[in-house]
Symmetry: C2
Subunit: 418 residues, 2 copies
Amino acid sequence: MSTLWKSRYAQRTLGVKSSAIRELLKVTQKPEIISFGGGLPAPDVFPVKRFEEACHKVLTEHGAEALQYSATEGYQPLREMIAHNLARYGIVASAENVLITSGSQQALDLIGKLLINRGDRVLVEAPTYLGALQAFNVYGAQYVSVPVDDDGLLTDQLDPSLRAGPKFMYVLPNFQNPAGVTLSEGRRHQLILLADKYGIPIIEDDPYGQLRYEGQHISPLVVLDRENLRRDNGFTLGNVIYLSTFSKTLAPGIRLAWIVAPEDVISKLVQLKQAADLHTSTFNQYVAYEVARDGFLDQHVKLIRQVYRERRDAMLNALHEYFPPEVTWTHPQGGLFLWVNMPEGNDSQTLLTAALAENVAFVPGGPFYANNGHEGGHHMRLNFSYCQPDVIHEGIRRLSVAVKMQLRGSHHPSSVGQ
Amino acid sequence: MSTLWKSRYAQRTLGVKSSAIRELLKVTQKPEIISFGGGLPAPDVFPVKRFEEACHKVLTEHGAEALQYSATEGYQPLREMIAHNLARYGIVASAENVLITSGSQQALDLIGKLLINRGDRVLVEAPTYLGALQAFNVYGAQYVSVPVDDDGLLTDQLDPSLRAGPKFMYVLPNFQNPAGVTLSEGRRHQLILLADKYGIPIIEDDPYGQLRYEGQHISPLVVLDRENLRRDNGFTLGNVIYLSTFSKTLAPGIRLAWIVAPEDVISKLVQLKQAADLHTSTFNQYVAYEVARDGFLDQHVKLIRQVYRERRDAMLNALHEYFPPEVTWTHPQGGLFLWVNMPEGNDSQTLLTAALAENVAFVPGGPFYANNGHEGGHHMRLNFSYCQPDVIHEGIRRLSVAVKMQLRGSHHPSSVGQ
């Protein structure tokens, strides 16, 4: 009977596929495999005890409210706390500029719903976050891709793409997923001026901003935009919608993130969210508020930084120790990922098969490119947050075996079959 | 700067408005107002203690998994429990037929996304659930409405509407929101035969099915469909997608519901859900499983039935005591709502203003009609689950004052302005 349903599917479902990463993760759940594939936070830093105390307090003191339906906008004390925390990064926002979402993925879905008509172009980085492409694909987005280097998006190359009139730009300025690179301060200023010049707004996705392990904090685009606009007219929020989340600082399993936008944009997003899931779990919002409050979040982020810095260093050291000189990689100043560049002509999908034979996994670069083409064929994304340092060391050793084998193969085609 | 954003909004956002109920609820949150407006479960029956034990157990025994990312399909033990519980209603489904969603509203959104191209017609009951209209509106649905009476959808009137070729039918067979009526067994059979004859699938929304206070359980459409199809070809799930939720049996604040569908439909819905919010809160799924298990859910539903039956009876008695004979109302055998019919020519929107002056609130009937027209002008929806019996009695007394005032006004137009 499924034939009946299939014949009824809407046009938008045709291009929708399950994420390559998700399918990969199914394969790599065997315990003998060391996985650098997922984007998973380390479970050993989840503040489990604090969650337990928070659940107890919420249910004892606010059980009737926390288990009931609630406002689409979100739990007001949580919105206020988020607005308050944003101020330390120079982001001037009130609770009314904050919409609580069911994870950042919902934020991306609501933004796609709000802005994309079928066939609209969206400017994205190459590579960019796969989940954003998935969210925007549902609404029939087409893409204009602009490459990144070690200093992030190549803003010098933006002019022709902006002249083509994309609906908006989607940018991850800090420790980008997947490449791990950070947009330099100079390029941030340039990007804001270009956005203003062409009237093309920006979605700034910042899930990792607090997880910096070295170097100086750089102002978010939303702050630079405000400084730029203020000179003209005093608006506090303008051309940039800013996204962040508790998934990397508290826990992803509670699905809590937020959108910061001008009030009338929030009000439209609220209408769309209401139709999408009424509101995000009341209980989780009460619990996250109790967990984060009284400075706990700040203390906890310090712990995460320490743990992840150690893991990043373990991965960088192991790559240096084991990988052949033809292979290069990014040096992320924060976040969860680094990006490995194999010499051109290598195919990371084939490499994955060899790597799995060595009991190690990663995500091939292809799916992070909007046109899903072969641009990413010689890249791989490695996650360093999930495994402990000694496991990272062993995993990179295993991966180097597969890499060297492939390099021998591609450099000496005659050796194929030996 | 919001002008910049506004000029970028997608076409689909034009028709999207905030729910009339939601706006109304903001007005009625004053403590002096007795509200029959919301569809809120009674907080006094939330199993708060059991939730607390479940949170403690989940965090102590499964903290690392429960706070982590998880599968889009849902937590496997919870899917299995739901499939198992469905069997007692004759619904034959395995865990693979069950997709966990972030509340029923997300189920409706995913179904709209899956099935509706802009301009597609959807057959709905008149009146029907407002939240479904909101979800489907986003995807540009048009509607064909067929009225309900005390035995539910008038299946005798379906033929011409089905010949017009709607994409699917959306039906609430049990204790319908808003009318409180139940589709009779005879009409259920007729509906299934018509669906089969015209090849028009059905979305069966059943949030209240377990909350029956009198009369005999009637088989869900998904079961009758299976019996019908089986005679032909042995498929277990076919023309009907079935929706239900924990919102009315455990608590709405945890946002947990589910879709039951053939496996390949589930697989497509999983792809859409992945793009929409990755997955529903892992933590909430673990907690709900712990709360519901070992027969607790069944025991708890018995308690809810007892409490809500008493409240329904309190409302029916008070209506009988206070309301004038020209006004009639439905006699719901279960659920949360009843539907009041004023004589034609009365406007329940005007009545609401008078009612609020008496410190009592309800939802006017208009928004429950797909074409949002004046069809619902002389109806009101009353919720009986939220308030305690003595409060219900007092609220209906207050409401009767406003009703009698309006009836006097409409019967004696000469009195206008006095």
